[in-house]
Amino acid sequence: MADLKIRKLRKVFDGLEIIKGVDLDINDHEFVVFVGPSGCGKSTLLRLIAGLEEVTSGTISLDGRDITDVTPAKRDLAMVFQTYALYPHMSVRKNMSFALDLAGIDKSEVEAKVQDAARILELGHLLERKPKALSGGQRQRVAIGRAIVRNPKVFLFDEPLSNLDAALRVQMRLELARLHHDLNATMIYVTHDQVEAMTLADKVVVLNGGRIEQVGSPMALYHNPVNQFVAGFIGTPKMGFLDARVISTDPHSVTIELAAGTRLQLPISGARVSAGNKVTLGIRPEHIEVVKASESAFQVEMDVTEHLGSDTFCYVRTSSGETLTVRAPGDFTGEFGQRVGLALDLNHCHLFDESGLTIPKLNQRAA
């Protein structure tokens, strides 16, 4: 069992509020990812859970037991650090068995657990080596092994892949997903990389400036972001934003006019806005299509196009000087400066009010 409940958690460093009241439930077996821009307090939140930082106010409980003031070792958690934090003077075997040795567990049992973890992580042939003699990926594995042998209730990871090169990162990401499945463990994972968040998480927690912006499954965040920040943070390439003005509303639709002059009627409830309101239209690159200039009222000028093979990313400029990214098929060709039309998928248009909050759609997709 591992049910983690965080209530009204705050952390102040030198008079500066870094975590500004966080409420969060993490359920047994869940893979939860804290994601957000650098400096938003992800690591601090994780360290509060680990007990490495003292809580300013609020509570943390694990399976109904209040662990807010319990020492780190007694919380039944294991953490994998960004820098791996292996003990440089100990062999891989000793690194993994250190916690068990300290706990005074029987030698043969320790050996069995180390062998088990080494088998899962394919570290068997490296057990006698010192961390110095390992590659980055291997060190990462030892750090994970050190957590596994303790059989903790919750695994904590702080940006574990950020020191690896791109290829290895993708490989380790897959291994982590497999590990989560095999161990059936509860994991909390911190990253600033939203791709890691989307691919690994059962539940994504988007943090910004010490607050939770949104909690939900990757698909829920993708389809129904609660505000402009989440909308812009989740998804690659990023969602494009265009300034607009509300022309008219009715219960089932909102008609807006873009700064570029184009009018659009969106399937969004008109209850929250009224004519004349300033709004922002959000649309993802994959929900825009490039068409002939004559086929759309929304005309733009082509800027750079990037060919990735599978896709082509076109950067376009509107007549009001705003830029949008369009995801076109791999064989798309466009010329610099060419005038083209854009067809927006109106069902996938997001509308944000002046404070950045999402104006709800009529048919929200199930989260």
């Binding site: 007990g51 020492t71 916690a99």
Partner: protein, 278 residues
Amino acid sequence: MMLTLKQTRQLRTFLLGLLAWAVGLVMFFPIFWMILTSFKTELAAFASPPELFFTPTLENYVEIQQRSGYFSFAWNSVVVSFGSTIIGMLIAVPAAYSMAFYESKRTKSTLLWMLSTKMLPPVGVLMPIYLLCKNTGLLDTRTALVIIYTLINLPIMVWMVYSFFKEIPKDILEAARLDGATPLQEISRVLLPISKGGLASTMLLSLILSWNEAFWSLNLTASKAAPLTALIASYSSPEGLFWAKLSAVSTLACAPILIIGWLSQKQLVRGLSFGAVK
């Protein structure tokens, strides 16, 4: 004539090597001369121009041993320098640990303040310390020297240990804490083994400084607790200038520390450069 890149590099290595040897010889020459003189007769030691070739004699060493008893002085030096080094480390390690890993607003200024006490001229506090020792009955005791040496070396020891601890990522200690280590285990099983090279060079430096210290040993000891530095001083003036005996006693006093220093050059260099040379 044009030199190729390789030749230029070889020439530079050669010239730098020559310079290093020259500097080394200049610095070593007094010690060499001292050792040489210690094997001369008093007469030969005075000869002008000095003789480079002579029949060596051990008479100076024999006489020193008969007159003063080298080993009681040496034993005092050993007790005092090892004693102050061990006590110093026992204080410096926890102090540096808390400053390196639990930094506060005042940590930096505390460190600077500690170092600034080294700038005080020792003679400035001679009277108060002499009187303190006198009134507590510590004059001419090894205890007094151990206490004083510990105190005067402590700032440098804390500073050095601190700089070695600073090189160790905090994450490693936090990992140990999560693994269930108590603060004492954190220090003894993780921190100390990792920094043992740095700690060794700190101890070495403290040993050398204590061994060579002459101001306090001359002023606070008479006979019972007098270390080797006091033995040297006792040969310098009262009986006129006996160059050969003075050289012999100096050689005896320097020998142990020279040997230790020679055996541990690597550690020492790393320690004195505060970990900059790996």
